[in-house]
Structures are given as structure tokens and as C-alpha cells.
Subunit: 177 residues, 4 copies
């Protein structure tokens, strides 16, 4: 088992990152900070004559780094009750990779991944973050990935999350199960 973390945050040392650090403490992990890269939104070419067009950005190189890992942790602040827009753009692009001749077995590879979600929000994340968890379930179901677990935490200012003892404990235990 090797692990990759996909960070959707947009500030250094945000609460989702801090909480994720507790989950991966002591493990060797490939870290991808989406905010450091250019990821274009998808252009839906499924039904256009010319199909999907090659995109000049960092998306494919990120996918190439991720694919060798069998455990993917999605770590995101909860913005407006969902994952960050940059993480959403990243996932939207999977629709293109599924039709990319350079990734002929993309969905099959994905179906072997184990997925975790770690997310922190400031406005009642334990209730208002639940639709996001349901969406991740649908996403993982579609790809055949197994949704191994998630942690929701509450925090606004960097560091806040350490006061959410339930989230801290759950993160610490997340990968041990």
C-alpha cells in the first residue's frame, strides 16, 4: 500500500492539511497540492465532433503521479458546503481521462483504489458537510473505488482544528482500521 494525498486547500497550513497530517503521521506519502498547479476546467467534448481537445496544463502530470498509489486521500477545506473549486475541477477532468487513448485502463485502475476524505469547515460541518460526503460516495461508486472512511472537522482560523478532539482522534485512527 502506498498513499497519495490530494490537497484542495488554498492557503498554507490550513485546517484540512493539519488534520490530514495527523492521519498520515509517520507514513511515506506522495503529496499533491492542487493549488500549486494549473488545472483547467473541463471542456465537455463527449458529444462534439472533434471530441476532447488536448489541454496544456498540469493535470496529466498530476494524474501520472497519483496513479501508482493505491490509497488516495482527498483533503479539502469545505468551501460553500462542498469541496474546493480546484478539487472539483480536478475531478471533473476525470471525464476526459476516461476517454483519453493515453489512459486506456483509467477506470479499471481507479476501481482498485481505496479512497479517504478529510474535510474541515467552519459552518456546522458535521451536518452541512454531509451532502459533500454523499457526493464523494457517488463519485467513488461510479469509479468502483472503495470509500474507506472520512473525517469531518470544524475550524476556521488555522490551528482551530486541533480543538476538535473528535476529529483529531478520528484522523489519528483513520488509516489504522
Amino acid at each position: 500500500m502506498t498513499i497519495a494525498v490530494i490537497y484542495g486547500g488554498t492557503r498554507p497550513n490550513g485546517n484540512a492539511e493539519t488534520l490530514t497530517d495527523l492521519a498520515i503521521n509517520g507514513l511515506e506519502v506522495e503529496k499533491i497540492y492542487l493549488g500549486e498547479y494549473l488545472i483547467q476546467p473541463i471542456k465537455d467534448g463527449r458529444h462534439s465532433e472533434e471530441g476532447f481537445q488536448e489541454v496544456s496544463d498540469d493535470y496529466n502530470s498530476i494524474i501520472n503521479r497519483l496513479l501508482p498509489h493505491d490509497t488516495w486521500i482527498f483533503s479539502t477545506p469545505i468551501y460553500w458546503y462542498s469541496m474546493s473549486g480546484i478539487m472539483k475541477n480536478f475531478i471533473d477532468r476525470w471525464s476526459q481521462t476516461m476517454r483519453d487513448a493515453n489512459y486506456p485502463e483509467f477506470k479499471t485502475h481507479m476501481s482498485k483504489k481505496k479512497a479517504y476524505v478529510i474535510a474541515v469547515g467552519g459552518d456546522q460541518p458535521y451536518v452541512k458537510g454531509l451532502p459533500m460526503i454523499q457526493q464523494f460516495q457517488h463519485i467513488f461508486d461510479f469509479m468502483g473505488m472503495t470509500f474507506e472512511g472520512y473525517v469531518l472537522g470544524e475550524g476556521n482560523k488555522p490551528g482551530d482544528i486541533l480543538n476538535d478532539k473528535k476529529a483529531v482522534y478520528a484522523a489519528t485512527e483513520l488509516l489504522r482500521r
Copy 2:
């Protein structure tokens, strides 16, 4: 009452747009196609010393066009069980506008808006699109906007949506209530 439509689709004449056309048929409407603009992801500056930084993109000009309208229709394809990434990035940026001295009354203005959602997806949108509807409810609740109604429809190829008679009827009636 004046109306603006915020399109989150990324292909011309997509199903969400077609369904929206039925809702606004015969009305004068300000149309914003997010896919035609550059909208940067938010950089969370809420708790950094320097705060939010000015961003050089089309976001503010879009907001300026939208604010005069009291009815906003969010029209989006359902990508991966949620709004498109470009629409999510657009909404994420509201967090910055709420702290932007150039928009001192942003939230107050927003609280007077009526909101509608029109969304089309290909994988059981009537059930798997529900978390997205719940998120829009949370978003509108936070801003104090009233969620006047929504239409979910099913379709993949452009034009499919016209076979979803329930959605077609609901779109036609949406603004009449």
C-alpha cells in the same frame, strides 16, 4: 424583477442550457456563460496577514453585471454529482467579495435575491443530484437568498433533455409560480 442566468456548462447548447431556455422563454434575461471567462480559484486570505489579494480576472466584472438583477438562475450540468467546477470556483470567490471594501454591502444585497437552480445529469440525477440541491440550499441560506425552486433533468447527448417530459414541464412552470 429582472433576471440573470449563470451558466456553468462548458459546451454550447448543452442540456442544462436547453432546459433553462424553456424556463426563460420570452423573458428578457442577462446571460452569463462562465465558460467564456477567466475565473481564478479563490486563495483563502481570511486569516493571512496580507488578507485577500486583488485578482486579475473576469470575476468582478461578472459580479457587477449580476448584482443589479434580483433573480438569479444557476444553470449547470451535473458533473460528478455536483455543479461544474467553474461554477464552484465562481461561488467560492464570494468569500472574497464578502470581505472586499469595494462591495461593502455584498451580503445584504445578496440576501434580497431570489435563486433558482436548473441542472441536468446523466446518472440518476433525480436521486444522485439531491446532495447538490441540499448544498445550494445551504449556500442560499448562508447568504439569506430565497431558494425559489429547482428543476432536475436527465440527459447525456445534447437534446436528450427534451425527452424528459417531467423536467420540460417543470422548467416551463418554474418562474410562473
Copy 3:
């Protein structure tokens, strides 16, 4: 195709019943009004030594009437954001039937059923009724039933539902698809 309707309402001519009448207009239908029967809550005997105990009530006779039909319509008022308690008690008892030697193929039979839900509520059912729809989806998924469609409607006083044009139309079309 033969149809049964399971009514969870507790007053005559309630809004959910009225809306259901529009869906089944002109069709021959077996009608089960749960409120007219005694249905005991389940006693979970899955892991007790003596197992489930025979229950003296109307549940089995209702199941016997329902099983021949391949289309089941669950028609319920939305009480406290979910199906009525009597309908919930009815469904809870399925856990016993699944282990009842008199119904050796219960789950297999159920897996061939088509299911519909028609529900009417007074407090924003189009949004606050969505968790109930998700629960029905989980219920049907567990049993292998196909969830063919649902209609949510808004109403309080008997007859109110006829003013919800979207629901009226959707009910009228529900079984035609």
C-alpha cells in the same frame, strides 16, 4: 404489470392520497391503507436465542396481498421530514420476513419489484423531503428493487396539493414513463 399502493397516511383524502389518485387514474390497483390495520413494531430477534417471534397482527396478511404485484407505490404524507411512523413500522418488519421460513424467497421476490414514492409535505418538501428520498433509495437498493420514480408535492390542508401544478403534472406522468 399489476400495481399495489401502500398508503401511509392517517386521515381520509389526505394530500398524498389525492396526488396518488392522479398517478393511478384509470388503472386497476390494489389499495392498502396501513392506517386501517394493526402493524406491530418489529422486535429485533436476529441475534437472540429464540429468534423472531410470531406476531399476531395484520402485517402478514398485508404482505400476502402485496407480493403478487410487481409495482409498489409508497404513498405517504411527510411527517417530520420522513415517511409516517406506520409506514416505517411496516418496512421495519421486512427484516423479520426476510428470516421467516414461511417466506423463503422474500428478498428474491422483492428484487423483482418496481417501486415508486409519492409524498406530500407542508414544510419545503422539495428540499427537506430529500433525505427521505435518499432513504427510500437505500431501502430499494438493499432489496434489489428498482426505484422507478418519485413525486414530491407541497400541501397542508386536504386539497392543497391540487395547487401544486408541478406535482400534479409529475404524478400524472409518473407511471407513463
Copy 4:
């Protein structure tokens, strides 16, 4: 602060009860086992001429025991992705109490309560139990109760829940926050 627990389980020493014991360990608590009482389903009399009828069962005596307590813990097994039918029938009856001249301030009293939910299920409760949590939120919002927290746990056979370390920890901490 005094505490009441409302148990919705139907077998002794079920997992939800075991998990709840960890939350209330060492505290004085009023315990109500709904399964030991007769609670009739509601008969909706809101719009009938004669109104709600007096019901001869244990519901009012339960309410009388609960009302003095300012913290209510709803402890339920997850049956079919929701609270048990007996708990649902109990909550359904609140609609009658809100119109009962003997409880003139029912909703006002309820609005001062703090509410917790502890629920255990066997089929992916961390995801498939989320609609139930959303329903409790809607219920508490309607009554003005504050939703202080919840614990979901996984288990089937009695005692299973003690292997769900995350749930055990969360239950232990639930009332300490």
C-alpha cells in the same frame, strides 16, 4: 443540566444502547425505553372538524417525564436507514402535542432543549445513515432545539459496537464538549 435518553431499540443491550451507555457513563439520567410502552401512531386531526382525539396510551406520560429535562439524547438502532418505527411514531405524535391544550407551551419548552443523536447500523452507517442525521437536523430546527452532536457507529450483533473505536471515542466525548 439534566439528561433524558429516549431509546428506540427493540432488544435488550442492543448496540445503540451500549454506545449510549458510554456517553452517559457516570451521569444521572432518566431512561425511557420506548419499546416497553404503547405509543399509538398519530391520527392527523389538524384539519378535521373534531380535531385531534384523546389517545389512550403511554405517550403523554412519557412526554411528562421528558419535559423537565433540558438535554435529550435520541438513541436508536438504524433500521432501514432511519430511526426505528417506534421512535418515529413517538416523534410523529409531537404534532398532536403542539395542538394539545394541556401542553400550551410545548414548542416553546422544546425550543430550549439540547439534542443529541446516537445511532448504530450494520450497513455502512457512516454514509447511509446521513439522511437520518439530516432529518434529525430538520426536526430540531423546526422545534428550535439545538443539535449539539451525534455519533454514528457500526455493528450488527450485540457488542459489535465496541469494535468501532471511532464511535466509542466519539460517544465518550459527546457530552463533554
